[in-house]
């Protein structure tokens, strides 16, 4: 209408609503303002982006086939030996809590203080770094803070991971998902059914339960962990039926040098005693 263009008293609304038509609508920059060759989003640009997407998708599928998603053993709240480990992208926060001044009495600094300031500053970056300059080398404070944080994150993650692998080596532990995969492969190679960790095996009966070797087991405190009936307990394997899994030599080796969380017994027991125990344990087979 002619009236809307000239009248300075006439209020113009958007459509049939009561929203007044603004004088400066927020219209994005016209791309003819940008130099060079611009192109339409669909289909021209999206097809190019899709090509990049396909490369990433193939990469993801290759990774999926090469490395199956890990699965350990069913959660056992009584398993005291398990080394807790968060997913890799939380490791830097996890590692941070291990340093003095952000742990123990100062734990608040580690859980709320440092991450709060770091993530808070990141979230409010546009309100802290308000200059017009966009190039990172002209914004030394913002850029150097970000680069320092990146170095800290990479460093903390690496230290955390190295400590974890060190802990694994120290306790001679194989991560459960690898152990499980190995057992499944072994079973497949032997043509057996895949072991099912949900199925509890029937407790094996002891063979020659009054053999003198049992006295050594009591003396060496084996039964405090492996239980008085030798059926094992939370996270500790049963000794009854151990002969099905290990040979006499392997048992002697484990008793002498320890394995996983089991300590070495070469101080407490003589070689002859270890041999006697190993001989008896090797006889512990569920299937005769």
């Amino acid at each position: 209408m002619a009236a809307s263009s000239k009248g300075n008293e006439k209020v113009v609304y958007v459509g049939d609503s009561r929203i007044r038509k603004g004088t400066s609508p927020n219209i994005p920059a016209d791309y003819s303002a940008f130099p060079g060759k611009s192109e339409a989003f669909i289909p021209n640009f999206l097809l190019k982006e899709w090509m990049v997407g396909v490369v990433v998708l193939v990469g993801l599928l290759v990774l999926t086939i090469a490395e199956p998603a890990p699965l350990g053993y069913p959660a056992d709240p009584l398993n005291a030996a398990f080394i807790p480990m968060p997913d890799w992208y939380f490791l830097f926060l996890y590692q941070l809590l291990k340093y003095p001044y952000v742990s123990q009495d100062y734990l608040v600094l580690g859980t709320v203080g440092v991450p709060g300031i770091a993530f808070g500053a990141l979230m409010l970056a546009p309100f802290l770094d308000t200059g017009k300059e966009r190039r990172f080398y002209r914004r030394p404070i913002a850029s150097s803070l970000m680069i320092l944080s990146l170095i800290a994150i990479v460093y903390l993650t690496k230290v955390s991971w190295d400590f974890y692998t060190h802990e694994l080596r120290l306790t001679n532990t194989i991560p459960e998902h690898k152990l499980r995969e190995e057992k499944a492969r072994e079973a497949a190679e032997k043509g057996q059914e895949r072991p099912n960790p949900m199925k509890k095996e029937k407790p094996a009966a002891l063979v020659d339960a009054d053999d003198p070797a049992t006295a050594i087991l009591k003396k060496a405190q084996c039964i405090t962990c492996h239980a008085a009936d030798l059926q094992g307990q939370a996270g500790i394997p049963a000794l009854a039926g151990v002969g099905d899994r290990l040979t006499k030599e392997e048992i002697a080796e484990i008793v002498t040098n320890g394995r996983n969380n089991m300590p070495s017994f070469k101080e407490q027991l003589s070689t002859a005693e270890i041999d006697q125990v190993a001989t008896w344990l090797a006889k512990q087979k569920a299937v005769q």
Binding site: F34, P35, A69, P84, V112, K132
Partner: protein, 223 residues
């Protein structure tokens, strides 16, 4: 036929401007890797979204088999991975995709930071982007528990312990996440609900805001 159906709808709802706006907007040269190879850094946001879509799709298929209770959770994941056709692939995509989406989002954040694209008038979009970042971390944390193996269980236990040590709010956060005195049946169902309903809902809302804002403001200009 299809064209006449489209016209019939278009006459009534005027849908053409909606999608033509998305389709026809010009992508400037400085973000186009076909013209400048270094512009591949502008792909990270799109790739984050692409992998998010993969996560949603693979997650939808996973819930067809997954059972969120402490007796069957592990067994259902085990079954899904070893017995169901392509189950291992779908779970693998979800597992590795979860890491990949964090990586891509991280790279996207760094690109936006170092190109100073968060500056006026795009402050709000940056804040929404950070919220998406936190939602993604929440999805990672809650999803980690669901297979209910030892790794999942103990990581969650430690995570809740750390949350518990926060002054004042800590015990409430712990109660909210754990749903009881121990990490147990309640925790698993809560994490499942948070992972599958609450956070994805929030994520979709935030993504919509992110995209509407970028469409409204356009991509930041060349440096």
């Amino acid at each position: 036929m299809i064209k006449s159906i489209y016209n019939w709808i278009d006459e009534r709802l005027d849908i053409t401007p909606m999608w033509r706006d998305v389709a026809d907007h010009e992508v400037p040269e400085h973000v186009n890797p076909a013209h400048h190879f270094s512009a591949f850094v502008y792909c990270f946001g799109g790739l984050t979204f692409f992998i998010t879509v993969i996560q949603i799709l693979s997650g939808m298929f996973l819930t067809m088999y997954y059972v969120p209770d402490i007796i069957n959770a592990y067994a259902s994941v085990d079954y899904l991975q070893s017995k169901v056709a392509f189950g291992g692939i779908v779970r693998g995509m979800h597992h590795w995709g979860a890491s990949l989406v964090i990586v891509m989002m991280f790279l996207h954040t760094l690109r936006v930071f170092f190109t100073g694209s968060y500056k006026a008038p795009r402050e709000m979009n940056w804040v929404v982007g950070m919220l998406i970042f936190f939602i993604m971390l929440g999805l990672g944390f809650t999803g980690y528990l669901l297979p209910w193996d030892n790794k999942a269980y103990y990581a969650t236990k430690v995570g809740i312990q750390i949350a518990d040590s926060v002054p004042i709010a800590g015990p409430y956060i712990k109660q909210l996440m754990q749903g009881g005195d121990i990490v147990g049946a309640q925790t698993l169902t809560r994490f499942f609900a948070i992972h599958v309903f609450f956070l994805p809902g929030a994520l979709l809302a935030m993504l919509a805001a992110h995209f509407i804002m970028i469409r409204k403001q356009g991509i930041s200009g060349p440096l």
